[in-house]
């Protein structure tokens, strides 16, 4: 390819490079990732271009005032349908008043009903397929659109029995699943909310809706808490209860969480690869701070972790651990870190080995 002669400016102006920045999982994105891996000498220049384009993709439309679209459409309808009003008798007018009052009442009721329907989380389709994994068992499911879901132990994924080209792709999850969603959008879409329904893929877990176009992420919904960890690409998370609606756009490496105790969506940065390690069956640590590993033990195993000395938190770990079960991971960590790890029920304590 002639890209070997590209300068920062050439990368900036290249539309396929822009598509890569907009969505690393698009066809252009995958192509550029592969190309950059093979041409490390061009990475510094590409990085500069990438950084600027990425910042520019943060642009947002001015907010649309609520109700404006409806009001403006009504105004348009009135303008294009000139009233052909013949003169009316008084009794007819009275009848009309009565009729319009009735119409208004019916309309209000319909609106109330629509609002109530809209506020409810999306209903499952009538005919569904259910995939379940048992205790200590993992299961890989390929969906009709080619997307792949790895289910962790004790998890259930429900999807419509029939997928059509026009309906949005929707699944319902309890437990934990790692999603690799196939990208269907013909070109990069900057705004997930505005994307047409058929290219969207939505995961429903507890009161969260997780909308993506094509990307990889982990969803863990157990014991009153739901967490989403994004590996690459973009994800829009929405939390909906009877009266509230929260919305958040995730970036790679984000963990977004909601729980019964802390219902509002909260976001923090995590090493996302650790959170999908269970799908590969091993952990790979690269100078990973112990603090991150403890956070992982809390997030994915629901353990309560404490340390005797805060210096332990700053220690770093490198190497691979070929297990993902907590019972085996803890002794392995103890050995690598040369620490003493004691587990009592759900509480784990790290101490300096004597």
């Amino acid at each position: 390819m002639e890209f070997t002669r590209y300068s920062v400016n050439d990368f900036l102006l290249d539309e396929s490079f822009q598509a890569y920045v907009a969505d690393g999982d698009s066809a252009a994105g995958l192509g550029w990732q592969a190309w950059l891996r093979e041409h490390p000498a061009k990475q510094a220049e590409a990085a500069q271009a990438y950084a600027l384009v990425r910042a520019l993709y943060q642009a947002q439309r001015p907010a649309l005032p609520p109700g404006l679209e409806d009001a403006e459409f009504q105004r348009l309808q009135q303008a294009i349908r000139p009233a052909l009003a013949p003169p009316r008798l008084r009794s007819q007018r009275r009848l009309r008043v009565l009729a319009s009052t009735l119409t208004t009442m019916v309309l209000l009721m319909a609106l109330g009903l629509a609002w109530w329907q809209w506020q409810r989380p999306a209903a499952m389709p009538s005919a569904t397929v259910r995939y379940t994994s048992g205790a200590g068992q993992q299961r890989t499911v390929t969906l009709p659109d080619g997307s792949v879901v790895v289910l962790n132990a004790n998890s259930t994924l429900t999807a419509a029995a029939r997928w059509t080209a026009t309906s949005p792709r929707e699944v319902w999850l309890t437990g934990e699943g790692y999603f690799r969603v196939t990208h269907l959008a013909p070109r990069p879409v900057a705004d997930i909310a505005a994307a047409p329904a058929p290219v969207k893929f939505v995961v429903h877990a507890a009161d969260l809706s997780i909308a993506v176009l094509g990307t990889q992420f982990d969803v863990n919904s157990r014991a009153g808490a739901t967490k989403v960890v994004l590996t690459s690409g973009k994800v829009a998370v929405e939390r909906q209860t009877l009266l509230t609606r929260e919305h958040l756009l995730m970036q790679p490496g984000d963990l977004v969480e909601t729980s019964v105790a802390q219902p509002h969506l909260s976001r923090r940065a995590v090493p996302s690869a650790l959170y999908s390690a269970w799908t590969r069956g091993f952990f790979e640590f690269h100078q990973t701070p112990v603090r991150d590993i403890m956070q992982l033990l809390r997030d994915t195993y629901g353990l309560r972790v404490s340390v005797a000395d805060s210096a332990i938190l700053r220690q770093r770990v490198s190497g691979a651990v070929a297990v993902t079960k907590a019972e085996l991971l803890l002794p392995a960590l103890a050995e690598i870190l040369d620490l003493q790890v004691t587990r009592t029920g759900n509480t784990v304590r790290f101490e300096q080995a004597r």
Partner: protein, 202 residues
Amino acid sequence: MPDNSLWEDFLAGDERAFEALFRQQYRALYGYAVRLTSDEDAAKDGIQNLFQRLWHRRARLSQLEAAAVRPYLFKALRHQLANDARAQTRRTSWHTAYVAELAADFHYSPEDFLIAQELSEAQRAQLLLALAQLSNRQREAIYLKFFDDFSYDRIADIMGLNPQSARNLIYQSLQLLRQRLPPVVWLWLLGQWALQGGYLGF
């Protein structure tokens, strides 16, 4: 494919298709119009006038493929807003000599151009500052490219330029942005690249 038939149905006089078209495009058109005019009422009226005209002139409009609908509407809205601004000045001012100039001089507002999704307040302010130093046309081109995701050809068509000029306009704008961004913002932006981890991996 669905859009395509939407436009065709609208041309054939189908009011439902017209409504669907209006609702499908309203958000994007409103965003564009507000940025061009910095005036919400002018933006609303411009879109209103545009759609009224579309409806009345539907018999004389040509077929469009789905992907061409939005660029077509952006271009038409740009003309509509210029006409509206011209009519407005004619009504309210005697200085008709300045009319053409005023109508051509859209104020392209950089406010709210960026959101704080990834950027801190300070970084956002610095980016806004850099964007504010671009000319209106440069800013409009950048916005069409990176927000509305239009190709160079479409941008050229909307802004009434030839494709090479559209490319050049965006090239100049990017150059200016690169020069005007302080090193702190650069370092941080590059950090995002590492986090994104495209090829670096974990």
